[in-house]
Symmetry: C2
Subunit: 410 residues, 2 copies
């Protein structure tokens, strides 16, 4: 790759200035695996140069986490030491922004007992609810970004040497994130485009969307009352603009938790907690999953659906045209951050309160009244295809074609 | 290196079983730089196999720490967030054992303002006093071990490629730590030998030791009342045997804080907080440094001496024969863990309470009455040489020759 160092630094600047848009003296909390340390170092430097008051890098390692999962007693797995909670409280109380670097070691937990995985992730989810609420309500800026590791790279580019695969994955990430000598103007233009669709779709105020393709998907997704379409640049409750995902190609909104019916067939595998769920479908009635199957890791899928009451309903529906950079690259990333931006997707579990009018200031009961799904998890999965047809039904029951052959036609 | 993986695993086992001697269900706290992650992973696995209930790996990165030192405000540098204190309290309250992996990036802070370094390290020192007291009083088992990184390796083996230098440093560490197919019996024998000297020296109950060589060292070190010689295997206050350093070649005891007089000339450079102090000497009167100089980093040496009241007095005096494996390897490691085991050394700052009879259960005032030095720091430096002569003076003023030409002759 030409100019590798230059582009990596541009990428880091983009994450700091466009991703979280660090404010003067703000705390920046970076969650990184040790494999992503070179990028965490760049982000730290750029964060300070942008005026951050303090950068906290919380390094973890999936190989060590796997040892915990295998060896700890169930009691220990269920225990989240208070210092971990305090660390997250410290960041939230001080209005930090959060950067999460995703770099999965695919399949690392394939042989780990699902029950033990569940105990551990449920405990973390429950004890760090405060942090999830902070992020999902945009009380601080946050962003999720990617950085390669050799295992992930070899899965995506299996025909190449480890080093070459790493370089190719890095290049794919940089292209997907529109990183070049014009990164910032690229993102301004891109955000403007996403914003136009957000406004258009919000103004239609659709009652429901109907998705249909030749792979078996035929599903009606009712939308929540006063729903808002979002995607691209977002605004924190303190008025700071930021981009929650790099890359992002989606326009998404809040489905109605009781108004989803039909069948959805996934078009990409789903990496969840180091287990890869493949070839799966879900059938919904009145918003709830009533049937499902998967050719691989059905139990993991079941664990997601049975996580809590809200986990078998959806909290997000997102539209991504087939003609988008990531989709056009024909690269399967085996990573939701990238794959969800190549394909229409929905998320099992919690909705973003910001996807309904004034949602960040509503109580849980008020949100639920609008159709907002509540859950301890939020798991996206992809079901888009080049032949996807989407029809919106307005309150007056008239229909509007939104997607034809996988792309916007609205 | 032959059998590299086998030997590394043996090394990890040795650290877990002989170093900290992990007890059933105990918490193991591992402090590791991200450069040492491969070894931290091995230690984690071996700790669980040995019955650990929980392994906490606290990863830090000197490159990121340097960014903090350069960019944070002085106020932020002086602030240790409470979650860091809670993390250490959690470990101490639950009677954890501690493993610290040393892997310095030499000279990394050479251009960092000394004042800022001081603010940061003083804050950490003061806020983590509870942890230092826990370790120095052996309330839990602890050990310090080494693992190479490319920068360190190139400093030690400058004539080699990065990869080769790394391998050579790793091999030197393994040899210094007596790691081979008989690692455990090697350590049993070695500990027995160190233990014999501990007993012999303690039984002499010397009033003082006089060190003299042709490099300018000519110093009398009075010993504390009821002092005990230690070295090699130690015992925690809960009765668990452990080895505080791997490697270790030293017999050491508690000097009397008011009874040190003369000049000591360092024979090796000293890496302190990423700054390398070279060619230095100290002159003592009544236990206190009254004159000093260094050809490089004199200011850093000054910062050590002026850290607090106890920092200009000594808290440890250690004897290492010139004929020891590390010394014989003629390798300068630029790292105290290794270099201090190739050379007689002393430490500025705090003494180990365990180096006087029943010291762990004495109050600060009782310890000081025996001559025990109290300080927020403990910095070893090396002054041994092949021509070192050491004479012990007993309470009855008779003299006993302890070292002749750098080796035990007692």
């Amino acid at each position: 790759m030409k100019n590798r160092d230059y582009l990596l630094n541009e990428y880091a600047k983009l994450v700091i200035l466009k991703g979280v848009n660090v404010q003067k003296d703000q705390i920046v909390f970076i969650q990184s695996s040790i494999n992503s340390a070179p990028f965490a170092r760049l982000l730290t430097k750029e964060a300070y140069l942008a005026g951050a008051g303090e950068v906290i890098v919380n390094f973890t390692d999936e190989i060590i986490s796997r040892e915990h999962l295998i060896h700890k007693s169930e009691e220990k797995l269920a225990n989240v030491p208070d210092y971990i909670i305090r660390m997250n409280e410290y960041a939230c109380e001080n209005k930090a922004c959060f950067i999460s670097i995703t770099s999965p070691i695919l399949g690392i937990n394939s042989d780990v007992d699902s029950k033990r995985l569940q105990i551990s992730s449920r405990a973390l989810n429950e004890r760090l609810k405060m942090r999830r609420d902070y992020l999902m309500s945009n009380h601080g800026q946050w962003t999720v970004v990617g950085y390669p590791n050799p295992v992930w790279a070899k899965k995506v580019f299996s025909g190449f040497s480890e080093e070459e695969a790493f370089d190719r994955l890095l290049e794919s990430i940089l292209v997907a994130c529109r990183v070049d000598e014009n990164s910032f103007s690229n993102w301004d233009k891109h955000n403007q485009k996403l914003s136009r669709y957000n406004k258009l779709l919000t103004d239609f105020n659709f009652e429901s969307l109907h998705f249909k393709n030749n792979l078996g998907t035929d599903i009606t997704v009712g939308l929540a009352d006063d729903h808002i379409w979002a995607g691209g640049e977002d605004v924190s409750t303190f008025g700071v603009r930021f981009n929650p995902n790099l890359p992002t190609e989606e326009n998404f909104t809040m489905p109605h938790k009781f108004k989803v019916s039909g069948k959805v067939v996934a078009t990409m595998p789903l990496d969840f907690q180091g287990k890869l769920i493949e070839d799966f479908y879900l059938v919904f009635e009145d918003g709830k999953v009533v049937d499902f199957d998967a050719k691989k890791e059905k139990e993991t899928l079941k664990n997601i659906l049975f996580y809590d009451e809200g986990a078998s309903r959806i909290g997000e529906i997102a539209l991504i045209p087939d003609d988008s950079p990531i989709s056009n690259s024909k690269t399967l990333f085996y990573n939701t951050l990238f794959d969800e931006n190549a394909s229409c997707h929905m998320a099992l579990g919690a909705a973003y309160p910001t996807n309904t009018k004034d949602g960040s200031s509503l109580s849980k009961e008020e949100l639920e009244k609008r159709g907002c799904n509540i859950s301890g998890i939020h798991v996206d999965f992809m079901f888009g295809s080049p032949d996807m047809e989407i029809i919106g039904k307005k309150k007056d029951q008239t229909e509007v074609k939104i997607f034809h052959k996988g792309n916007y036609c609205i």
